[in-house]
Symmetry: C2
């Protein structure tokens, strides 16, 4: 039917010109007549999608902004990580939540220490835990990926893995881990320590054996898309980062500063936790000061490094946030080791651990409450930040911008008292060094009361950063560590559309943010405001931030490219169809119904 | 100096007439001349204060409303409980928080079981615990008073003791309890089980031995003041009560219904906790239904009794609120006993306890989240309420008013789904019994999101009850069980004026309540709203409720008389000085400076 074939070719050409995109066409031929049944934009891999969009814009078929609007920001994520070889065979044994993208294979280990030992011997390992805690951080660094049987998209393992760009499958409930026998069961399958498994953080699949992966390919199109996104977006994109590796990664991905340095993460590794524990377990001021001095030196060094990497871009350092008991283990055996390492009697560790125990740690003695009751910790941290600023200010070409951020504020008076301590320290360091440096003091807005009191807080705070993880927890009265027990059923029953820890609840949490933005800026005109919760990397939440008038979003390093694209799309959308149409040669017509041609 | 004495008598007479109150006068005589230095209203006991106010009003010296405004509502509390004989000698060994008024002496016991055993043998006992949990409820009932070494004014022990009208000294940190040796130490003093101690819940003092007490004297003046208060107040006063004893006590104190029945309290006692645990540990539907049927019978009986006592006054029954793990103990030994009692393998108890464990129980799988995931529990409770209403409706003169209250709501959809279950049950029971009864379905507003979404919730809810305990916890991000670690320092440093769990935070939590009242009534005109947190018995918070336009406050039975007086004062204040002045023969002049007469 060469006549019909030509006719089909013409229609295809016309449709693809019309829609300015590759089409997936359905048709039928009946009694020698061509009927077009359906046409839709053809599916493609992330890599192809970027290439096509860039090519079409370069050929003038679509505008740059149209090219950007066509790309789903989450596509980008797949480009940044290894993926499973689509041709490889796989034996899926379980499925969990796709908690951090990428695929990885390795030998199963059940403890962070074992992960470190094996990886030092050259093995690739997958860390399998019921759930992870800050104590496991060295194991997460050593492993290729992590699998947990409990916890959701915002569990410790998921958040840390996304931050590191490691694949993570979380909350795989069918997998029954037995630490004592170093094995896990899933149905009839038993997997022992040292056996190979593969996890896919995009699908949540857990597979037996090693499935081959394909490395990420950051093609030229990726760079082009990013540079176009930067032309259109109005919000800044910063990164949440503590380690030099993360900060460098984020910089490579185009972040414009660090929006959140979680200083506590700096205290969990290696010898640092020993000094931290000595500080917590100190019996008198001399002991405590000695421990604080050790911490000061480490913290200053860390922050100096971050200032250097950021090279003049702002770095927001948050004061110590978690409750102190997170630094003290709870089993007798571990407490014994802590006592030995810290050089204190076991009984003191036991007593202190029991004193520090909390019914609801999330709502406990943490955040600025620590800085109020232990002003010496706040002073040490402020000093570390400012000494680092002085240090880098002397030697680097670009002067660092230090932003000190106070967490978990609920009343103006907390901020008044802590700002005094921070400013006094800044002045003292400036005097000691005989130099000035740039710094700002701001606050997290992560409690409903802080949002409501934003007008008053803005009298003291020079910037706001919305901590939407905690703000979601308190606004909903919902612990993200415990929500896994009922959130899936809530979704299934249509009570929530999506996990509010993944995409911002715009009605509830969002209203508090709007109130805070409005009251804060009424009190301090043009006040800088951003978001540094996990939502900072979620496209729908980024669109909300744009609408609400925030100045920046801050997210995990591996979400930075996604946030850049999402911010551009948000800006384009908020400029309305006008901008889109003006930059297009012809407006896109409405969908047409098809009859025989 | 008889001349000067006469002069002084004249001045005294003039001053007391002028201020219409007994005066505490300071004067000096120099060189034969009388100088008046200061005058102020004289201090008096609670008992005398009421008598004087009533006498003066009856004599026409002051108006009824003036008499009411003169009385501090908290004075009333002292009248309702035994007090220490002021002449008796006392050996104070420690001081804690004055967590529940009244004084009591008894033999020290260290466990709830021991309290029950000894009190059954005719001993009066004081229960001493590091802290109490719902498991100790039978011990709290059996004891004359309770002393805890941990926890604040709103710890479990404090709240339960106030509800029962038992004295409580909480958070006496100097007292070091050693359960294993059944003794406590404070300084050099060691007190063993069976030794006599006395506690004073008004001062927080702990004393060695038995200090004699004076029983409460509810004089005629008390009744007069209460009836006058009822003339002026506009808000209703209800009680939080579950047991018949509490409900009767509250009725005696003049409550106008029950604002909060915490159904979970009905599941902790005696054989009930066994049925509750069987329900939680059930391995299949048949087992679970059998346990639920047992609970249904008990619950129906309890609620029937409450309806009978309230005799036509409304009774608001809240659905199960705490997370299920509160019903399962955590030590191996206790789990063994539970397994035996519930007739299930120990391993299942262990596994279920570990499954139910939560990082932040306050923000966990509780409230309506339980009713959503276990609709059969919601159905059982609704059935118990409605069968009780039908039962009492048939036999009593006055028909009961059943209000079903859904806790911890954060989204409209939760309420939509649960209201369906509750209404279907109501219709079914009405059909089965061939009769109609009055019921309403409403919701707690105890999460910031619920307050913000009040307009939508009011589409479904027929009444709101503000759960200000949880609303304070979430608005501040502050666990009341853990706040003790830093709240005292916060007060000392002037960051908070008072414990926000004792007196409502009007700026933060209060704004959310105002928002909810406004949005709720905009959506459902004239909607009935009340408060059922601990704040319902706090005079300053009651004044806030009056200003905000709430219809009722609900508080512990022993706070009902206080709330009646405070509500009258709030109404008088909000009517402004006008009402006060109109009802007074002469306006009270401003303070005068004194010279020689």
């Amino acid at each position: 039917m060469p006549g019909i074939f030509r006719e089909l070719e013409n229609v295809r050409h016309q449709l693809e010109n019309h829609y300015r995109d590759m089409q997936d066409i359905e048709f039928t031929i009946q009694q020698g007549k061509l009927y077009m049944l359906q046409t839709r934009t053809g599916k493609r891999t992330a890599h192809a999608a970027l290439q096509i969009a860039v090519d079409m814009a370069n050929e003038g078929l679509i505008s740059k902004s149209q090219a950007l609007m066509r790309l789903k920001p989450d596509l980008i994520d797949q480009l940044l990580h290894p993926t499973l070889d689509s041709k490889a065979k796989k034996t899926v044994i379980a499925k969990g939540l796709p908690a951090s993208p990428g695929a990885a294979a390795g030998k199963v280990v059940f403890s962070a220490d074992e992960a470190v030992t094996r990886s030092e011997n050259g093995d690739k390992v997958i860390l399998v835990r019921i759930e992870t805690s800050p104590d496991d951080i060295h194991g997460l660094h050593a492993a290729e990926g992590v699998l947990t049987t409990r916890g959701g998209m915002t569990s410790h393992a998921a958040v840390v893995a996304r931050g590191m760009g490691r694949p993570c499958v979380a909350g795989a409930g069918e997998v029954k881990v037995d630490y004592s026998s170093a094995s896990f069961e899933v149905g009839d399958v038993v997997v022992r320590e040292g056996q190979l498994v593969t996890i896919d953080g995009v699908t949540g699949e857990v597979m037996l054996g090693e499935v081959p992966t394909v490395p990420p390919q950051l093609s030229g199109a990726f760079g082009t898309v990013m540079s176009w996104a930067d032309e259109f977006r109005t919000m800044q994109v910063r990164a949440n980062a503590e380690t030099p590796a993360d900060a460098r990664q984020a910089k490579e991905f185009g972040c414009e500063g660090i929006g959140l340095v979680r200083t506590e993460h700096m205290f969990f590794e290696g010898g640092r936790i020993v000094a931290m524990r000595q500080m917590i377990l100190a019996s008198d001021k001399t002991d405590r000061q000695a421990a604080l001095d050790k911490l000061l030196a480490m913290q200053r060094e860390d922050i100096t490094e971050l200032f250097r990497i950021m090279d003049g871009l702002p770095v927001t350092v948050r004061l110590l946030d978690p409750p102190l008991h997170e630094f003290i283990p709870h089993t007798e055996a571990e407490m014994g080791l802590v006592a030995k390492a810290a050089g204190v009697p076991l009984d003191r560790v036991r007593r202190r651990a029991s004193e520090l125990q909390e019914a609801n740690p999330m709502l406990g003695h943490r955040g600025c409450r620590l800085a109020i009751t232990y002003p010496e910790i706040c002073e040490m941290q402020a000093r570390a930040i400012f000494e680092a600023a002085a240090e880098v200010g002397c030697s680097a070409k670009k002067t660092p911008v230090a932003e000190v951020m106070v967490p978990l504020v609920s009343t103006l008076e907390e901020l008044v008292q802590l700002k005094k301590v921070i400013e006094a320290t800044a002045q003292q360091v400036q005097k000691e060094r005989g130099m000035k440096f740039t710094y700002r003091v701001g606050t997290m807005v992560e409690l409903p009361r802080a949002a409501l009191q934003a007008g008053r807080l803005a009298e003291q705070a020079e910037f706001f950063s919305f901590g939407t993880n905690d703000l979601t927890q308190t606004t909903y009265g919902l612990s993200r560590d415990d929500a896994g027990a009922f959130l899936p059923e809530y979704k299934a029953k249509g009570i929530v559309e999506q996990d509010p820890f993944v995409s911002l609840d715009q009605e509830g949490v969002g209203e508090l943010i709007q109130i805070a933005v409005e009251r804060g800026r009424r009190s301090r005109s043009g006040m800088k405001m951003g978001i540094c919760g996990e939502h900072g990397g979620d496209p729908a939440s980024i669109e909300f931030c744009e609408k609400t008038g925030l100045d920046y979003v801050s997210c995990s390093p591996f979400r930075v490219p996604i946030a850049r694209l999402a911010a551009a799309q948000a800006a384009l959308k908020s400029q309305g169809e006008k901008a889109l149409q003006a930059s297009t040669k012809a407006a896109r017509p409405r969908q047409q119904r098809f009859g025989p041609w």
